[in-house]
């Protein structure tokens, strides 16, 4: 059965003496090159998109960054605020990390046309590592089923908010299903291999008793003929590696980018106190000179360049804001903790973060197109090339995020506290509020009398009483 196909796929285990390349080997090398070539360009594009945002000073001690990286990213510390999902996530996560060791052998085998090249030299250690991977893979399999069940059959509110439209939901399921396929691949590859070893087929070196497959293999595949077993073993191998390549290619388009980006995101997360909003030195200096606290500064630039304050678009966010947006797994813990969202307001911190990523991807794609219609109107004549500096597609983050959402934030920091990988969804909200108030001079109408009162009475309320009138009733 399937002899021709096996022949085609066959990466011959026997040929030790510099054999001619097999078709499978050539196919593998081509796919490997295509995957890494594509990944190189796509991930570079992602990084360039993040670099469209403002440069940001990396402050604070390295030791705290290491601590965040090890405790929060590697250690999953913040996930464990919610034990059950945390433990299942840990299964998938550790299986993912440890499987990378095995991937080294898979790639060598693929390129060299060898079969389990490390089994014989590593001996018992090989058995240990592969068995360890097998145990984690079983746990990951269970966890994936649990996650599919939770996501699709249980009604967990955070999986069903307005921003969880068609694509985010599909994205989540695609990854979970792909994980199942990958795990099925691993167990077919190992299980059939064990049976082939027991049959004493040449080219199948002793792997030792693999903890799961030495039981599962004979149970599932025992009694099948040799060519079928070889087919299952090869197919499992290919399914596994193609699923891995598929992940690499798919991730830049998916929320699952967090498996890479969570690490830099925890490293770069801002270390300033939570209660300290980013200072605006240009405004501070202007007010200082107004108050006679410092020398008046020469107004920078000519009057044509009226400075814009706050954030209107991704160019005004900083790179850590954008890195956060690309790292977001859309888990919705922020939204589930948000008092505005809990009480039915339109604001959802997760949506804010997702909108920033969507807008960044839109800008990036338009810039990549080089289409001159995206050059700002007054520059369209003189500028030959579309650049981030002259870019204007007539849209901004305000086309994604409404004022109603921005105005609902109580700045309570629950979203900041909730994020398992230290994304700050609140800072972009406050940057956009700054744009509304300082650049557009708009905002909630109730705030206008508050500002007037703060300016005239140094209190948010319009009061005619003296500030220390309360003293009169002291007894």
């Amino acid at each position: 059965m399937c002899d021709d196909f096996v022949e085609w796929l066959y990466i011959s285990p026997q040929n030790d003496n510099a054999p001619p390349m097999e078709v499978g080997q050539i196919v593998f090398i081509i796919i490997l090159a295509l995957t890494f070539g594509f990944a190189f360009f796509k991930y570079r594009e992602l990084i360039n998109t993040i670099l469209l945002a403002k440069k940001v000073e990396i402050e604070g001690p390295m030791s705290r960054r290491f601590k965040n990286l090890f405790l929060v990213a590697f250690g999953q510390k913040k996930m464990f605020k919610n034990f059950l999902p945390a433990i299942f996530h840990l299964f998938i996560y550790t299986a993912f990390l440890i499987t990378q060791i095995k991937l080294i052998e898979i790639i060598i085998d693929g390129v060299m046309g060898s079969h389990r090249i490390l089994a014989t030299p590593l001996g018992g250690f090989y058995t240990f590592v592969v068995s360890f991977i097998e145990i984690l893979s079983v746990l990951a399999f269970v966890a994936t089923l649990v996650f599919l069940y939770r996501r699709n059959l249980l009604t967990i509110p955070r999986f069903n908010k307005v921003e969880m439209t068609h694509w985010p939901k599909l994205d989540a399921n695609i990854i979970l299903l792909a994980e199942l396929v990958l795990l099925v691949g691993i167990f077919s590859y190992n299980g059939a291999d064990i049976v082939l070893q027991q049959m004493g087929v040449v080219g199948y070196p002793d792997t030792g008793a693999l903890v799961v497959s030495s039981v599962m293999g004979p149970l599932l595949f025992g009694g099948l003929d040799q060519s079928t077993l070889i087919f299952i073993e090869k197919a499992g191998w290919w399914i596994h590696i193609l699923a891995v390549f598929g992940f690499i290619v798919y991730l830049p388009y998916s929320k699952h980018l967090h498996i890479f980006f969570a690490f830099p995101n925890t490293w770069f997360a801002k270390l300033r106190p939570r209660g300290r909003m980013e200072n605006m030195p240009e405004i501070m200096n202007e007010v200082k000179s107004m108050m006679g606290l410092s020398e008046a500064e020469e107004p920078a630039g000519d009057m044509e360049d009226i400075p814009e304050f706050g954030a209107k678009d991704i160019f005004d966010m900083d790179r850590i804001n954008l890195l956060g947006a690309f790292s977001c797994t859309e888990c919705g813990r922020c939204t589930a903790a948000c008092p505005a969202n809990i009480t039915g307001k339109k604001l959802s911190p997760r949506k804010i973060v997702m909108d920033i990523r969507d807008r960044a991807e839109e800008v990036s794609a338009k810039l990549k197109s080089g289409d001159k219609k995206y050059i700002r109107e007054d520059k369209r004549e003189e500028d030959q090339k579309l650049t981030p500096e002259n870019f204007d597609d007539g849209k901004s983050l305000f086309d994604y995020i409404s004022s109603e959402e921005l105005h609902a934030c109580t700045t309570c920091n629950a979203c900041v506290e909730a994020c398992p990988i230290l994304i700050d969804p609140m800072e972009p909200i406050l940057k956009m509020r700054r744009y509304e108030i300082l650049t557009l001079s708009s905002g909630p109408s109730d705030w206008m009398p508050m500002f007037t009162s703060l300016e005239n009475n140094a209190s948010p309320w319009q009061m005619s009483d003296e500030r220390d009138k309360w003293k009169e009733d002291l007894d």
Binding site: P273, R274, G275, R276, M277, N279, M280, I283, M284, V287, K288, M290, M291, L293, F309, A337, P339, A340, I342, T343, G344, K345, K346, L347, E404, H407, A408, C409, T410, T411, C412, N413, A414, E417, L430, R433, Y435, E436, I437, L438, G443, P444, D446, W447, M450, F451, L454, A458, S459, P460, W461, M463, D465, E466, R467, D468, K469, W470, D473, L474
Partner: protein, 263 residues
Amino acid sequence: MSEKKLIVKTMAELAAEGKTPEILFWVGCAGSFDARAQKITRAFCKVLHNAGVSFGILGTEESCTGDPARRAGNEFVFQMLALQNIQTLNAYEVEKIVTACPHCFNTIKNEYPELGGNYEVLHHTQLLRKLIEEGRIKVAPGDKDSKITYHDSCYLGRVNGEYEAPRKVIDSLNMDFKELKRSRANGLCCGAGGAQMFKEDEPGDKRVNTERVEEALDEDPNIILANCPFCITMLSDGLKEKDKQEDVMVYDLTELIVKNNNW
């Protein structure tokens, strides 16, 4: 315990007498103007007086710290208020500040240093804890039958990580205390922060304070304790909405100390 009459003096008055108080009491806008919060201000003065802590206030020289302006997005107004305050505080060479408002506490502690204002800042619950632990105030045991619960303000709790000080003070009250379901880092906002206090809620199913009061009522308390004048307004409004204002009282921690001690 001091036998002298309680007289609250401004930093200007104290300076004229050539005196430097132990600490500056930053009263804040709510503490100064809001009728409900004024009671907390007076209660806190009584506690300081009874503990023998010498303190001064800025009086009419105090301005809003700028917190609501900054969080609403109005950096100009924030900088004007903040720089004005820093000028005043530095002129009196203030080193130590205590305030009964977690928003004032946060802004002075975390945001003024970048603008040139460096002070040791305490929230009043932190000072209360210290005074109790040092034995400078003794808290008489409260009514054993009244059940109390506690609402963490965002700006003392989640933002500044202070969960213990208010709980130590609660311990000293010796009353029947029960935590809310969402407490400490998971505490739910009262709905006032980020200048929400000064505007209507955005459209939604209910107000944030309603949600929080419903949660508090699940514990069936007689008293809800808080540490922030804005939380107290929000919780009181929520109770009124539920027609529970006669059954459940909202107090600042300070007020319960004063009440238990009959000061």
